[in-house]
C-alpha cells in the first residue's frame, strides 16, 4: 500500500515474458467491467440523452433539444440561486475544513500517544449515518433547542439557526464540518506521521523557528496529502444533499437549496426528469472541470519527492 495518500497512480509492471492473457483477463474483468458499463457508463450517457427530453415519471418522453439547458441558463433564476448556494457552501466548507483539519491534525500529532484516540473520535461522524447526524443537529438547533438554552444561561437570546436566511447556510456548513472533518484529520495525520522527525530536527538545528518549520518543512512534505484532501473535499461539497434536505428543506426561501436537492426535487417532486438530468450534467461538468483544473496544477503545487 502506498506510504502517503496520493492520487498519483502506480503503473503495473510489464511481466518479463510478454504473453497476452487476453481471454483470461476477459473472464476476470467480465463482472467488474460489465457492471461499470451498465451502471456507470450507460447511465452517464443516458443522463445526457434524457436531458434533451421532456421526460415525465409516467407518460411518453418528448424530444425538446436543448430546451432544458436554455431554460436552466436563461429562464430559471432558481438555478443560479442554487448554483450560487452550492458554490458558497463548497468554498466555505472546503477552506474551513482544510484549515481546521490541518490545525487539529498538527495538534493531535503533538500529543504523542493521545493523538490516535482523538483522531478516531473525530472520525466517528464520518461513519455514522448522515441522516441520524443531521436529525440530532436539527433537534439541537431548533429555536428552543439545547444550543439556545445554553446561550440563554448567559442571557443571550439565541437566534433561529435554521429558519433565519442569514444563518441557515452557516448552520449547514457547521453541521457538515462536524460531519466530515474527521476524514481529513485522518489523512493529514497519516501524512504527518510520514514526515521524518530527523528532518524537523535538522531544520531546528539550522535555526528554523516553529512557524518556519511548519511552513517550510511540514507543509511542503504534506502537500500530497493536502492535494488529496482538497480534491476529495471539493467533490464531496458539491454533492451536498442530506443536510439541506433534513435540516432546512432548502429554505428559508431558496437560501439553502443546493444543486443536488434541486435535482432531486425536479426529478421526483416536480416530475421533470429531463430538466433534472440537465442539472445533473451541469453538476458533472462543474465537478470534472474543477478536478481537471486541480490535476493540471498538481505538478506545480505538490511535492512528490519524499
Amino acid at each position: 500500500m502506498t506510504a502517503i495518500p496520493t492520487l498519483a497512480v502506480k503503473n503495473a509492471k510489464k511481466p518479463a515474458r510478454v504473453t497476452g492473457h487476453g481471454k483470461l483477463a476477459a473472464v476476470y474483468l467480465a463482472p467488474g467491467m460489465l457492471g461499470f458499463l451498465i451502471f456507470i457508463v450507460v447511465p452517464l450517457i443516458a443522463s445526457l440523452v434524457i436531458s434533451l427530453f421532456d421526460w415525465p415519471l409516467f407518460g411518453t418522453p418528448k424530444f425538446v433539444g436543448l430546451e432544458n439547458y436554455t431554460r436552466m441558463l436563461a429562464g430559471d433564476p432558481v438555478f443560479w440561486t442554487v448554483l450560487g448556494n452550492t458554490l458558497f457552501f463548497a468554498v466555505c466548507y472546503t477552506v474551513l475544513n482544510l484549515v481546521l483539519a490541518l490545525g487539529v491534525s498538527t495538534w493531535l500529532h503533538s500529543l504523542g500517544s493521545w493523538g490516535p484516540f482523538f483522531r478516531v473520535l473525530f472520525f466517528i461522524p464520518v461513519v455514522t449515518p448522515m441522516v441520524a447526524n443531521a436529525l440530532v443537529w436539527r433537534l439541537m438547533l431548533t429555536d428552543d433547542g439545547v444550543v439556545n438554552s445554553f446561550l440563554a444561561n448567559f442571557g443571550i437570546h439565541g437566534p433561529s439557526w435554521l429558519s433565519n436566511s442569514q444563518l441557515a447556510m452557516g448552520s449547514l456548513i457547521a453541521m457538515s464540518l462536524w460531519q466530515g472533518i474527521g476524514y481529513n484529520i485522518i489523512v493529514l495525520g497519516a501524512g504527518l506521521n510520514g514526515i521524518s522527525p530527523n528532518l524537523l530536527e535538522a531544520a531546528r538545528i539550522d535555526g528554523a523557528g516553529a512557524w518556519q518549520r511548519f511552513f517550510r518543512v511540514v507543509l511542503p512534505m504534506l502537500s500530497p496529502s493536502l492535494f488529496f484532501c482538497t480534491v476529495m473535499t471539493i467533490i464531496g461539497a458539491f454533492k451536498v444533499f442530506t443536510q439541506p434536505y433534513l435540516l432546512t428543506l432548502g429554505g428559508p426561501g431558496e437560501s439553502t437549496n443546493t444543486i443536488v436537492l434541486y435535482l432531486y426535487r425536479n426529478g421526483f417532486s416536480f416530475d421533470k426528469l429531463g430538466y433534472a438530468s440537465a442539472l445533473a450534467w451541469a453538476l458533472f461538468v462543474i465537478v470534472m472541470l474543477i478536478t481537471a483544473l486541480q490535476f493540471s496544477q498538481q505538478k506545480r503545487l505538490v511535492n512528490y519527492d519524499n
Binding site: 500500500m1 497512480v9 487476453g22 483477463a25 476477459a26 503533538s110 436529525l135 433537534l139 438554552s149 465537478v287
Partner: protein, 299 residues
C-alpha cells in the same frame, strides 16, 4: 515494498495510527498539560451531539424541550425505544439494512478482487488505459447517475426491491484500485512458483493471492458496508415502501411522519448509529487505510 517491511514499519505506513516517537525524550512542559486538557474539552464538545441523541432518546416527550439544557430528564423513559420499534417496522428496516449492506459489501469485494487481479497481474491490450478510465469513477459524483438508474429500475420493475439498492452501486473503482495497489506491492514469485507447480489461474487466485490480500479485502468490505449502511439519496429515490426501507430512509420517513416526536426519533437514531460506532471502534485500522486510498470519495 514487500509486506515484511510494511509489517515491521520500516517505511511509514499509512495503516498505523501511532505517531512516531519523538527523536529524543523531552521533559513534559506545563504546555503539555494545558494542551491535553484542551483536547479533552474539544473532544467532549465534539462528541456532544451523540450524547444529546442518547439523552433525548431517554426523555419523556414533555421534557425534551422543557428541561432546557438539562442533560438528564426526571426519569429514564425507555418506552421511546418501544415506540420507535413499533411505529415503523423497525425490525424489518434493520434487517433490510443488514441484508443490503452485507450483500453489497460481499458483491463489491468479490468483483473488486477479480478486476484488481486482472489489472495488476494479467497482460492484455489497453490495460492501463482501461484502468485509468475506470479510475475516473473515483471522482464521478453518483448523484449524476440517479435519474437514469431510476428509469432503468422502473423499466426492469425493480422499484421497491432490495436488489435495486444493492447491485447498481457495487461497481465503483475504489475497491479494485485499493486491492490492485496492494497486489503491485507483492512479489510475483509466489504465483510464478505455483504456476510452475502446475496450478491454474483460478487456483492461484484462491490459494496464493487470497491469503495475501486479506487486509485490503477487509478494508474494501468495511468501506462498502458503511457506504451501503449510510446511503440515503438512492434509497429515498428507489424505495417508497417503508417495509423495504433501510435505516437512513426509515429514520427520514419516521421524522416526516412525526417530526416533533423527538424521544422516539432519537431512540431510532441511536439504534442506527450503534453499528457504525462499533465498526469505528473495532476496525479503525482498516478505516484509516481505506480513507487514505479515496474511500467515501466520489463513488
Amino acid at each position: 515494498m514487500t509486506t515484511e517491511t510494511m509489517a515491521k514499519g520500516a517505511t511509514p505506513n499509512i495503516g498505523t495510527l501511532k505517531s512516531q516517537p519523538p527523536a529524543r525524550r523531552r521533559k513534559k512542559r506545563p504546555g503539555t498539560y494545558i494542551s491535553r486538557a484542551a483536547i479533552i474539552l474539544a473532544g467532549l464538545i465534539f462528541f456532544f451531539p451523540f450524547l444529546w441523541m442518547v439523552a433525548t432518546s431517554l426523555k419523556p416527550t414533555s421534557e425534551v424541550f422543557s428541561t432546557g439544557s438539562n442533560f438528564l430528564a426526571s426519569r429514564v423513559e425507555w418506552s421511546n425505544y418501544v415506540t420507535a420499534w413499533t411505529a415503523i417496522p423497525f425490525a424489518q428496516v434493520i434487517a433490510n439494512s443488514f441484508l443490503v449492506s452485507i450483500a453489497g459489501a460481499a458483491l463489491t469485494t468479490v468483483v473488486s478482487l477479480l478486476s484488481a487481479y486482472a489489472f495488476a497481474r494479467l497482460q492484455f491490450k489497453h490495460r492501463d488505459k482501461l484502468f485509468l478510465v475506470f479510475l475516473g469513477t473515483l471522482v464521478l459524483p453518483q448523484e449524476v447517475l440517479v435519474i437514469p438508474l431510476y428509469i432503468m429500475m422502473n423499466k426492469l420493475d425493480q422499484v421497491n426491491s432490495l436488489p435495486a439498492l444493492i447491485v447498481p452501486f457495487a461497481f465503483g473503482a475504489f475497491g479494485a484500485f485499493l486491492i490492485r495497489q496492494f497486489l503491485l506491492s507483492l512479489p510475483v514469485e509466489f504465483e510464478e512458483a505455483a504456476r510452475i507447480d502446475g496450478a491454474g489461474s483460478l487456483r492461484i487466485l484462491w490459494s496464493v493471492i487470497l491469503p495475501l490480500v486479506r487486509a485490503p479485502l477487509a478494508v474494501v468490505a468495511v468501506f462498502s458496508f458503511i457506504d451501503y449502511w449510510s446511503s440515503f439519496l438512492w434509497p429515498l429515490i428507489v424505495i417508497n415502501d417503508v417495509s423495504r426501507a433501510t435505516i437512513p430512509l426509515g429514520l427520514s420517513m419516521f421524522s416526516g411522519e412525526r417530526g416533533t416526536d423527538w424521544g422516539p426519533l432519537m431512540a431510532a437514531a441511536t439504534v442506527a448509529v450503534i453499528p457504525s460506532l462499533l465498526v469505528v471502534i473495532l476496525l479503525q485500522r482498516q478505516l484509516v487505510k481505506g480513507v487514505s486510498m479515496g474511500g467515501f470519495g466520489g463513488r
